[in-house]
Amino acid sequence: MNNLVFLPVLLPLLTGIILIFFSKYIKIQRFLSLVSSSLGIILSCLLIGKVHDQGILALQVGSWEAPFGISIVADMLSSLLVLTTNIIGFAVLIYSFYSIGTGREKFYYYSFVQFLLVGVNGAFLTGDIFNLFVFFEVMLMSSYVLLVLGGTKAQLRESLKYILVNVISSALFVISVAYLYSVVGTLNMADISRRIAESGQPGIITVIAVSFLIVFGLKGAIFPLFYWLPGSYYAPPIPVIALFGALLTKVGVYAILRTFTLLFYHDQQYTHELLGILAIFTIIVGTIGAVGYWDIKKIIIYNIVIAVGMITFGISLMNEQGLSGAIYYTIHDMIIKAALFLLVGIMAMITGTSDLRKMGGLIQAYPYAAWTFFIAAISLAGIPPFSGFAGKLLLLEGAVEGEAYVGFAVILISSLLMLYSVMKIFINGFWGKPRAYKDADLVPVSRLAVPAALLVIVSIALGLGTEAIYPYISQAMEPLIDPAIYINAVLKE
């Protein structure tokens, strides 16, 4: 049996449970979390290596045969995303040591970070649509707690709305699964895919596909369902925003990627056309938000919306370049968004505000943080040789091949405006006349910058090593183009 497949889920789960018993011993908690996260990175590297050699790995939980039991499936896409998740978890953890504060640390912060990782890794690895729902819920429950932990007024107010939106979308998820089950009579994604292919996707399946799109669109913040995101992501402390911004929306996007390539790919005229249109609107709305705000956190938050649009646009193309671009861009964006949030957090901590108009001249006192931010910013915008470039190039190639010229233009223009939005932070925040800030000396900037720099280095490596990484990306893309690979690996025919 390939128990390795399930270890990235099991490890944080056990760690989270153990950490509960040490809630008052912060040093032990930090140590255990760090060990667990490092192990998680090693495990996911092993998993990638094994998937690279042997192809898709499937674990039938409890040895119940494939369509009847729950399958845990690690294809290259899932493994890559699990690795990215673990790297981000590691970096955010180190950042939390110096910024989250003992109050939160004593009240199960680290446990819930681990439970969040359980949900995210599980959602990436599961091969069962109901199990996907369960892991979504594990992830969301932890995110509710992380969002409200600390109990400031803004946090409580935004948590209410966040929980309400997610409860509704979860109910919709259950309803969609119920409809799907009544039509195809199975929950295993490989088996669902096979049965839909046999019946050739009648109209009812397309309706179900759209209801799934609404569910995942709510989680992944697609236009017009993104309205909850800017408020809710603004409230919690920076490490939590970094985790949410890098991981949560991407899980929604991954779910769209998985379901719309594996299950609902027969009526592309309708479903993928719809996805493409929504993606373009998502990019436009996100760009308007990113350009319009003068609040550094808000700018980066709207950049999440843009990225979600870019990735879904890649999915809607359904050709090799488009899908590889979507995969590459997802990985790139998870890492760079986490890095940007961490850096923006440092700026907000030094200056005591997140309003750009009230800061300036930080580059004199903090040159390293400034240049790290600069690299992260141009990497986000996609300037070669950094990691955003390859993803966007693939997306654009896909757009040309799919003859989606509107999307092509929108991506190019929005990239420029993305660059503008982050350069606005750099110019107004780091350049200009230095000002005196009250609590600047209390902030351990050199320590806080380490995890952010780590993520930026990963991102640079991703950009410079595109040649080396591309085989993995294309292996991840193959089952998306040809679902038979996935189905055969899971059902062992």
Partner: protein
């Protein structure tokens, strides 16, 4: 029987929507409860309603009820139970901290102070 269930589920969803559109937090939470009840009944109905059979597949299986929807409902009930209790606690804390349960007053400013 399915028709009756469909009507019941529809009424549940309708009341849930009505309650969730109101301003009081408590009504909204009751609305989410009704919404998840409706969803659970929907799973049950989608599995097919058969009367007088057991959800077991014996050696010489006669008519049996599909056991899977019941397992799904159980999972979904547990989850919605957990979420609802957390929601209630958060709502209570919000009421304590902000002194209101009116969603209109919980809108938050543009600056999100």
């Amino acid at each position: 029987m399915e028709i009756v269930m469909a009507v019941v589920i529809g009424i549940l969803f309708m009341s849930a929507t009505y309650l969730m559109l109101s301003k009081s937090i408590l009504r909204i939470i009751i609305g989410t409860g009704l919404l998840s009840h409706g969803a659970h009944l929907l799973i049950l109905t989608m599995g097919g309603l058969k009367r007088g059979s057991v959800p077991l597949l014996g050696e010489s299986a006669g008519p049996y009820v599909d056991p899977l929807p019941q397992a799904l409902i159980l999972t979904a009930i547990v989850i919605s139970f957990g979420v609802t209790s957390l929601f209630l606690v958060v709502a209570y804390r919000t009421y304590q901290e902000l002194g209101t349960d009116n969603m209109d007053k919980l809108r938050g400013k543009e600056s999100n102070e």
